[in-house]
């Protein structure tokens, strides 16, 4: 049994011009089949021969061939350590690493490549902020986050508060899953004691796109520094770090078709130059004496030890790949697929979406709960296991955002997340399979 009749017919790329009813006036972004040809993994099938439907891109994205080849070429032809080897390969590796920094700077609109710090992931970038920015905090100071944050934008600040005696406070969300900016500001959440405001740009659970400029303006009005977790934003939409209003922006490589093992922290140069180091070690120093050391200017001050060199090369290839497609096109496709998925999923009986139910100011992560015919919750582990048996990859659990789930009174949720290679027929497969899951867990007990 399918639910096809209840939402618009399958829209394949070649038919996109006919999909105006669904897509309203939006431009048609790009040929998804051509993009899929760049991602060999998407051709895989399950052991029983089903096509693989990868809807876990908010967790990690798949990688196009050009990214993997850039990494391979680096290791096979240019590998050496950077900034210290006085030989041909050392010069090539250093050039590759530093030019990758320039590519990333350009990709997010940084004023210069000195504003781009490579870390091992977004979590490390946020921990860097908590340590370096947080070093000057005193008891009585306040740090503001939100209840919709990923654990990586909560725990580093909790640890900072414990170290310094500062207080951690947070924005709530509305029932629809929007950041409650009005409520927060009206209650004096941001005030003269606020030193740091750190929020997410796009929620990894709700998909909500937050009004960063509004929050940043309120924070700056009280002299606070604004940190932004853009891990779910940079892969999905054109991001201009200088226009956002934030002072520090963290994101990760592996969600934007790049490799694992590399994250990025962008910061305004004057701010970075004023901050103490995070980790100590090689590369981040100016002069080391047994009695004390001085430190390199940014970005190297924050890059102790051998950095993720090949990963930086891969990340630059990823940024080039996305730039060639055009981030506005990527965003348009994401919007199309999200709207299509929200509409299709609304037809599944017992499915409740956490977060905005329309594709307005919304990214591509769609989390939901599911109940059986008796109204009992079907656990996300069970949902994702049955989907997996049909070749559909989603994530079940709290998605590293337990406080947010608690806020909505649920223990966990299932999340489907699309990306530039997602096609509408995959959403159809998801909707079909979800209906099957509800049926599976609605079978009456045998009365043993």
């Amino acid at each position: 049994m399918t639910t096809h009749a209840e939402y618009p017919a399958v829209v394949e790329p070649e038919e996109l011009e006919g999909a105006q009813a669904l897509l309203a006036e939006e431009p048609i972004p790009f040929d998804v089949e051509a993009i899929r040809a760049d991602f060999p993994i998407l051709e895989r099938t399950t052991p029983d021969g089903r096509p693989l439907v990868y809807l876990d891109s908010a967790n990690t994205s798949q990688k196009p061939r050009c990214v993997v080849e850039a990494i391979e070429d680096h290791y096979l032809s240019h590998n050496a350590n950077v900034a210290r080897a006085m030989h041909l390969l050392g010069a090539e590796a250093t050039e590759a690493f530093e030019s990758s920094r320039a590519v990333i700077a350009d990709f997010v609109g940084a004023a210069s490549s000195e504003e781009i710090i490579f870390t091992k992931n977004a979590s490390e970038a946020l921990n860097l902020c908590a340590h370096s920015l947080g070093a000057s905090l005193r008891p009585g100071d306040e740090i503001v986050v939100s209840v919709m944050e990923h654990h990586s934008n909560i725990v580093p600040w909790q640890l900072l508060a414990e170290r310094t005696g500062a207080t951690l406070r947070w924005f709530d969300v509305t029932e629809e899953g929007r950041l409650d900016v009005e409520g927060g500001l009206a209650s004096g959440l941001i005030n003269e004691r606020t030193k740091i405001v750190s929020i997410t740009y796009v929620s990894n659970v709700l998909g909500t796109v937050n009004p960063v400029a509004q929050v940043a303006a309120a924070a700056h009005a009280h002299g606070a520094t604004v940190v932004l977790d853009a891990s779910q934003a940079v892969p999905q939409m054109a991001v201009d770090v200088q226009a956002l209003g934030a002072d520090l922006v963290a994101f990760t490589g592996h969600k934007m078709v790049g490799p694992t093992g590399i994250g990025v922290l962008w910061g305004r140069y004057d701010l970075l130059a004023s901050l103490p180091p995070f980790l100590g070690g090689g590369e981040m120093i100016e002069t080391v004496r047994m009695t004390g050391s001085t430190f390199a200017p940014p970005p190297h001050r924050f890059e102790a030890g051998t950095p993720p060199i090949a990963q930086a090369v891969g990340l630059a290839a990823a940024a080039r790949y996305l730039s060639e497609l055009g981030m506005d096109q990527v965003a348009a496709h994401e919007h199309l697929i999200t709207a299509y998925a929200l509409e299709g999923m609304a037809s599944v009986p017992g499915l409740k979406i956490l977060g905005p139910s329309t594709a307005v100011e919304r990214g591509g992560a769609i989390s939901f709960t599911l109940v059986n015919h008796d109204g009992e919750q079907i656990h996300p582990h069970d949902v994702s296991q049955l989907l997996d048996s049909r070749g559909i990859a989603v994530r079940g659990g709290h998605h590293c955002a337990r406080p947010l789930h608690e806020r909505f009174g649920v223990q966990s949720s299932t999340r489907a997340s699309s990306y530039l290679y997602t096609k509408t027929s995959e959403i159809d497969a998801l909707v079909d399979a979800l209906t099957y899951v509800v049926g599976f867990f609605s079978r009456p007990p045998r009365g043993r």
Partner: protein, 150 residues
Amino acid sequence: MNVEDLYQEIILDHYRAKHHSGLRDAYEAEVHHVNPSCGDEVTLRLHVEDGAVADVSYEGVGCSISQASTSVMTDLVIGKSVDEGLSLHQEFLTLMQGRGQVEPDEERLEDGIAFAGVAKFPARVKCALLGWSAFKDAAVRVSADQKEEV
């Protein structure tokens, strides 16, 4: 791997109608166990009388596998000696860690043999062990307390 291997009817039956669920008053140890990867939780109380498991009561949130496994566990250990309960825990653990290569003993594990298929799904083994691990923890605590008293 067939998903039907995982979701045996016995498992679904226990999931839909959990045995011995709810927290009851008489107990010597209460433990709270969490599966950090998914947030599944169980609070479990153990009541021991004369070295035997008089009651296991519990409350939790979790998937069908973790809930059903806890239900089956209570059926198995209640009425047995604590040592026998721990021995059953070890036997079930061996089955779960056997990657589908261990032949379960139906005489000993009864409905627990339905979980043999779980061993072929490594991501779900932790689910099946949640309640059992809580029982073991509680049993060890009760034994330690009793030794102190002696």
